[in-house]
């Protein structure tokens, strides 16, 4: 085995088909899209070279700034929500439920398997106000409150989007972090308990530092996913009302395919790519420092 994989030519030959498919489907369109940023036009009427006009327009475009702010806001809120709730769940599985946790884990994990559009339709009905009040509004009315038009305003629509995505992914992060938590040696926990640490102090001083690597990985994973959200927001609000819940991805879609401005759409896409790169580098830098600190024990 080592002879085959050690031989570089053999490795390359085995990799070549997958590499070719990856290049054609992923890399070439990315390069072409970068090229589009200095053109303007669409598939019907052709393209013309416009130089840096798209970038100048991006700097002055208030709606693009609003989309960027929404993307960052969504990424921050949903990442924190997903990871924190997932971590709480994993603590519950390890310390609370122990053996019985497998059934609960599976049930809570289930929503991530469902298609995002199906979940969005479900939440549309849960939070609806017309023609019939959904479950949430019925409960509000039952407790003496006033039904709210959740999708009529950008702020409340954002709350629904956040709840939906956190509910959907918390099981996944729960399982991911659970795997990290069971790696903590039992004797470390025993000795900490013997020393008198319990409950919150145990978590804060022992469990949290030891599970930091998997926590960092979860945060990176989550941020990368949430920065690029498209289908759940599109299915729930289509970026509405107006464009108040449009992240950069929906903005790209609108400009490229609805208004026929492939060049400006590609410019927005490039902006999103740069944001993702910055965030990823930032987190990797931070995590590298932590990992080397905990290295030799």
């Amino acid at each position: 085995m080592k002879n085959i994989l050690g031989d570089r030519r053999a490795a390359f030959v085995l990799l070549a088909p997958a590499l070719a498919v990856y290049s054609v489907i992923m890399l070439v369109p990315v390069v072409v899209s970068l090229g589009y940023t200095v053109f303007e036009g669409n598939a019907i009427s052709g393209f013309e070279f416009v130089g840096i006009d798209n970038f100048v327009r991006l700097i002055g475009d208030a709606r693009a700034h609003q989309a960027l702010l929404f993307t960052l806001k969504y990424a921050l809120v949903v990442t924190i929500g997903q990871v924190v709730v997932g971590y709480m769940l994993s603590l519950l599985y390890v310390f609370g439920l122990k053996r019985a946790s497998s059934v609960v884990r599976t049930l809570v994990f289930f929503p991530i398997v469902m298609p995002t559009v199906a979940v969005a339709l479900l939440f549309q009905q849960l939070f609806s106000i017309a023609p019939t009040e959904g479950v949430v509004n019925s409960m509000l009315a039952g407790f003496g409150g006033v039904p709210v038009d959740w999708f009529g305003d950008g702020g409340s629509a954002f709350v629904v989007i956040a709840i939906m995505d956190i509910w959907r992914s918390m099981g996944f992060y729960g399982v991911l972090l659970y795997a990290g938590l069971v790696d903590i040696p039992e004797d470390v926990l025993e000795s900490a308990r013997l020393d008198g640490a319990s409950g919150w102090r145990l978590v804060r001083h022992i469990v949290l530092p030891l599970s930091l690597p998997v926590l960092i990985s979860s945060i990176i994973f989550s941020i990368n996913g949430t920065l690029k959200v498209f289908d759940s927001v599109m299915a729930l609000t289509s970026g509405g009302p107006g464009t108040s819940t449009s992240p950069l991805t929906i903005s790209v879609f609108d400009h490229a395919f609805t208004y026929g401005e492939y060049g400006y759409g590609s410019t927005l896409a490039m902006l999103l790519t740069i944001i993702c790169l910055i965030v990823t580098i930032f987190i990797f830098r931070g995590s590298r420092r932590d990992l080397t600190k905990d290295g030799p024990r």
Binding site: F47, P147, G152, T258
Partner: protein, 431 residues
């Protein structure tokens, strides 16, 4: 990093890949494939339109069965909100079907026509000798919208406010003649616990229709043409006043709760089950009105009135808003003997078949006698015959971007999230 041969080779490969991709992309686009012939009579319509596919299938099985044997009918649908994207993608791949719904914004059809994708019916029908089968009023509406006879009027619609006669009678309201009368009527209805208006905020255009109707009544039938020509702006005070008038209706809560989430079907149902008293819609609604299962208030309780006049305005009630719905255009690259034969059969038979089967008033001539035309349909036909001047609608002369902005921000306008000035500013900025 030392410049080894490996690094240079890798570097060179990357540069070659990048340049070739750049060149590929620069040369792409604009070239549509010509010369292909159709192997099926493919039709792409918006999914909300159930009638065109139904009538075409009837024709394929009946009057056009010979053509259907040569070139089978293939129907495809897409949601109307995705239609523009779908058309652009297919045009770019030279994969447009034989007949396809024109884009939401007429500007898209103009763009497709400039790129040579849209057939000119003046020529095609002229060659077939059937140019007289289209109603002149429909042709002139199409020409003013699409810059040429580029679409076929599978519908010819007039728009106005359908109202529930029973509810009006119960509350002692007469058919409003002016906008102020209608506002008073709405107030009476609201006090009686009836939702005055039903409109689909999710679609957006039922609300913007109200704005343009007010504009045409207040400023005259050429008011939106002036905006398109640059002689006036939507941010001018008199145009903003129209948006304000409609926003005021929403501020009173007369559109019901959660108007932004109400889709077309829900809005229609609100009127047809008697929850809402007034419903602005075009005469394409006849199929729902004449269907005893859908219409729960009864045909005899449905009234139609043109959008009321605005006191002191330059327009008047007789100027009905008319349109050709979302018409179908033909792929210029697929016009050949077989598809022309199909087209001829459709043009000659669609009018009578649609009227009989779907109660649809179209812009095609009626070549067969149709018995038992329902009461509401003949009422609409009469309105069409009596109308001399017609007006268009809010987004008729807008670009695709302005159309989307207008339709997406209509619901926030009536729920109060957006002021009338802000709404008009947004739309004007995208014109």
């Amino acid at each position: 990093m030392t410049l080894t041969r490996k690094t240079l080779t890798r570097g060179a490969m990357a540069v070659v890949a990048g340049t070739s991709a750049f060149a590929l992309m620069a040369c792409s686009g604009g070239g549509g494939g010509g010369g292909a012939s159709a192997d099926a009579f493919s039709v792409l319509t918006n999914v909300e339109n159930a009638e065109v596919p139904a009538v075409l299938e009837t024709l394929a099985a009946g009057a056009c069965s010979d053509q259907a044997d040569t070139l089978p009918l293939e129907l495809e649908t897409t949601p109307q909100t995705n239609l523009d994207q779908q058309l652009q993608l297919q045009a770019g791949q030279a994969a447009l079907p034989v007949l396809f719904s024109a884009g939401n914004a007429p500007s898209l059809t103009a763009e497709l026509a400039d790129a040579g994708h849209v057939a000119d019916f003046e020529q095609v029908l002229g060659d077939l000798g059937i140019a007289d089968q289209i109603e002149p009023a429909a042709v002139s509406t199409i020409e003013s919208l699409y810059g040429g006879f580029r679409a076929l009027p599978f519908e010819y619609n007039v728009e106005g406010i359908w109202y529930n006669k029973q509810i009006f009678a119960d509350n002692g309201i007469d058919e409003p003649q002016t906008f102020d009368d209608m506002v008073a009527a709405a107030e009476t209805l609201n006090d009686a616990g009836v939702q005055p208006f039903s409109a689909s905020g999710e679609q957006g255009w039922p609300i913007t229709r109200l704005i343009s109707s007010y504009i045409f009544r207040d400023l005259g039938p050429d008011a939106m043409q002036k905006v398109a020509d640059g002689e006036a702006e939507l941010t001018d005070p008199e145009y903003v006043a129209a948006a304000q008038a409609i926003a005021d209706l929403g501020a009173e809560g007369w559109f019901g709760k959660g108007v932004g989430s109400i889709d077309m079907a829900t809005s229609e149902n609100q009127f047809l089950n008697g929850s809402a008293a007034m419903f602005y819609m075009g005469s394409w609604f006849l199929s729902g009105l004449n269907d005893p299962e859908m219409n729960q208030i009864g045909v005899e309780n449905v009234g139609f009135m043109p959008f009321p006049a605005v006191e002191g305005g330059a327009g008047d009630r007789s100027q009905l808003a008319a349109n050709v719905g979302l018409p179908l255009t033909m792929n210029a690259n697929l016009v050949d003997d077989d598809t022309s034969s199909w087209l001829e059969c459709i043009v000659e038979n669609y009018g009578a078949t649609a009227l009989e089967q779907e109660n649809r008033v179209s812009g095609f001539a009626l070549n067969d006698e149709v018995d038992d035309v329902p009461e509401l349909t003949s009422m609409v036909q009469q309105q069409v015959a009596e109308t001399e001047t017609t007006v268009l609608w809010f987004e008729a002369l807008f670009s695709a971007e302005a159309t989307t902005t207008s339709q997406r921000n209509a619901a926030p306008l009536v729920t109060g999230s957006l002021s009338a000035e802000e709404f008009m500013e947004k739309v004007q900025a995208d014109l």
